[in-house]
Symmetry: C2
Subunit: 471 residues, 2 copies
């Protein structure tokens, strides 16, 4: 799109939120203005609080007696942050009304993240265009929409469309394959479609998706929805518009696609080989089902968090590999968590550039913006720091082994929701740490990245430089 | 020093090795030339091989029967890389002659690393001076010597001087405090002085330094030698010459000093609090001895690797904290391992800069060279990658828990030598992985950093830039 359209798009963006401004706003002039990063923190906190209060109500539970506050808080945070960690049995604890609330919180959380992250992209594209008019067209194309109303509408439509398609695959399977009543089949298909596309990982079964481990008609549609949600909105939009013109794809699209393929295939291969004979996981399955389960579980690290096998029975080295995969997560501006495939890819390409001794980081024929280097390091370091601090705290509080605690912390921070099974038995203090970790992992990383990217950095003068020794 | 002197220093540097050249050498013109990074790899590999063959000889063991090849290889690598991990009982397995060989390998390894790393600094200073004549003086001062012969002589003299001073404290204590014969006291004082300053962590006692846990006359002199060795040669030289003029200190000196103080004090405080009542470690000690032991153990993560308590009895969250401390390690161009305090500090300051929204990373009133950003990321990422890969491999090979394996892998890679006690019982394949890890951690990281720093990066043209979304 041209500069005029970009300007209109930006103007809509700043009008829409009343807060997205190019410069950091003066907070005490004309009342309190929120930085966009603050807006999203407040918004998500409000959603968590409302969700907690709703889930706390007695009618939300199947048995009378209601839910403890900490369980309601944990479940609401887990739903809004689309994590999927659970402290109560989702099938047996919550009433159908509770399930509906959880599903709505998931949908709200997923849409909220996608819309906010995409808005940031829009403003960034505008900022870029102010600085160097050359790249406006490419940048705007990467963002993939023209104005804010169109953006929000696009995200909602795409979400519902993919969820609807997933529903079309799941509904007949539940109806004919499992003899559900039409209403039950429709509801189960809807809940799991929403939970899949939004990478939430909540399932309506006590043992998550273990009963469906060998059923490709359930596992494959869910995996596709998970992967699409994990690619992120900008990538989905670009694929929709320019699927046949890969040369036009933005660096973001290429990084996310390549990264996702490498991680999915690598994860599938590793899990298939490592768990092939494990009697607690893939051992009892037929070869085809082993491969399906390996693919399904590899997909979950992108960061949906369903499980079709008992994660607690996996080899502990598989947990470590999954820790790495979950930590990386999915694509930006999508429903997946983690530090993001792009962050990992940027760090990887910085490494390759240093190995090759080149001066600039060039990826797919484009130079990587230098501001992105420090942004990627910052996100990765903050993530490592948060996870390490949580691990040490959780070990103090629980006396559990490092492998269990590390898996739980990474799963919470990357909003995956897989667990070795310790979540429900943790003391409330440890569960609160997980609540904070889920919120930080979902909202913190995004707002951190955005705040950094949106900030106006003017270098007024430079000090003389010096280099300490490294390594 | 002026430019003429810098040029002379550089000329000596290139003459000295016959291989240190400003550009990457053409390898097949005028015979094979080794890159300085290759020189050091070949040199250390040769030292390991000679050490292995020596330790393999029957006279090196106390009992007849000699040493297995893998044990000789492991011990030689551990000594040359000044790691200190052991697969046999150092006191009971080796003969006095074996102890002498181990001590000489330690001395050789420590000197080799310091000399090579400082030479790199010298060449870097020269390169910097070619590019921007402004900083020559400061850079050269940071390196702290004038020519290569003087550099080597300086390193050897400083090493022997500090080892000698440590000996002067240890000798009377062994003589009068423990009733050793004068010859025994002299030998034990010598061995432990060398092992301390070179951050090797080998001790002449079956349970390392546990018998001396409450003896400040042993623990303090050894800790001082360890810390000095861990500061690195450039820092020692600058402190010696300009101790009273902190404003003249280089960024390297300031980063190493501040980082070391923060890590030492933080580690001491954490260990004292966490292990205070642990009956397996500090529990039975008097309060003063608890503090001494906490300080001594905190010092060991800088990366000497002696132990005055049973590491295997520590809380497993203390292991995780020590993993972090060991991974960071000590100062560059010294005898310590790890990714180095400077690397960690640079990453920390990059983070702070992003948080503050500033355009350039300014540390102590100087701007951090941008090339150092990517260098620090590269070193940290390679280290994380190597340790993670080793952890997953070791878990496959040993079926041991993550906490034990992670501690062992970090200890080997950061050349610390602390262990929860599993080293000797590992299968030979796992021990071979540790051998590779020790070599990589000591030689690999240094040569990687040097190769990157020494490389001539000429940016001939720049591609149009693009920024993917991060986080
Ligand atoms: K999830
Ligand atoms: K050591």
């Amino acid at each position: 799109m041209g500069c005029a359209r970009a300007r209109r798009a930006y103007d809509s963006a700043v009008t829409f939120r009343g807060s997205v401004r190019e410069r950091r706003p003066h907070r005490f002039r004309r009342g309190i203005r929120l930085h966009p990063a603050q807006t999203v923190v407040v918004g998500f906190a409000a959603a968590v609080i409302v969700g907690t209060l709703l889930l706390w109500l007695p009618p939300m539970t199947l048995e009378p007696g209601g839910t403890s506050f900490i369980d309601a808080l944990f479940t609401a945070t887990s739903a809004v942050c689309v994590t999927g960690l659970t402290v109560v049995d989702t099938e047996l604890h919550w009433s159908p009304l509770g399930h509906v609330v959880i599903m709505l919180l998931i949908q709200l959380g997923g849409l909220g993240i996608m819309i906010f992250a995409s808005l940031i992209g829009l403003v960034l594209a505008r900022k870029m265009s102010v600085r160097s008019r050359l790249n406006t067209a490419a940048e705007a194309k990467a963002v993939g929409y023209d104005d804010v109303r169109g953006l929000v509408r696009g995200i909602v439509l795409i979400s519902f469309a993919i969820e609807g398609l997933t529903w079309l695959f799941l509904f007949p399977r539940f109806l004919f394959g499992y003899d559900y009543s039409p209403a039950d089949a429709a509801w189960h298909a809807l809940f799991h479609s929403v939970s899949s596309f939004n990478n939430a990982g909540f399932a309506l079964y006590s043992d998550n998706m273990i009963d469906f481990v060998a059923d490709p008609f359930i596992c494959i549609p869910m995996s596709v929805a998970i992967i699409l949600g994990g690619l992120g909105f900008p990538v989905i939009m670009q694929l929709r518009k320019e699927f046949t013109r890969p040369l036009h794809w933005s660096m973001n699209t290429k990084l996310v696609l390549w990264g996702t393929i490498v991680l999915l295939v690598g994860g599938t291969a590793y899990l298939a080989i490592a768990e092939w004979d494990n009697e607690g996981t893939f051992g009892p399955l037929a070869p085809g089902a082993k491969l399906l389960a390996a693919f399904f579980m590899s997909t979950q690290t992108r960061t949906a968090g369903f499980n079709s096998i008992d994660v607690g029975q996996m080899h502990d080295e598989s947990w470590v590999v999954m820790d790495v995969l979950m930590f990386i997560g999915g694509g930006p501006a999508g429903t997946a968590g983690g530090i993001k495939v792009t962050t990992f890819a940027v760090l990887f390409f910085i490494l390759m550039t240093e190995f090759r001794g080149e001066g600039a980081v060039n990826i797919f024929g484009k130079r990587l913006s230098r501001a992105v280097h420090r942004q990627a390091i910052t996100v990765a370091l903050v993530a490592v720091g948060a996870v390490m601090a949580a691990i040490i705290l959780l070990m103090h509080l629980t006396k559990l082994d490092l492998d269990l605690v590390a898996f739980e912390a990474v799963s919470a921070f990357a909003t995956v929701g897989l667990s070795t099974g310790i979540t429900g038995d943790l003391p409330p203090t440890a569960q609160l740490i997980l609540v904070v970790l889920m919120f930080l992992g979902r909202i913190g990383l995004l707002t951190l990245g955005s705040a950094i990217a949106l900030r106006d950095k003017r270098i007024l003068y430079e000090l003389p430089k010096e280099r300490p020794a490294i390594g």
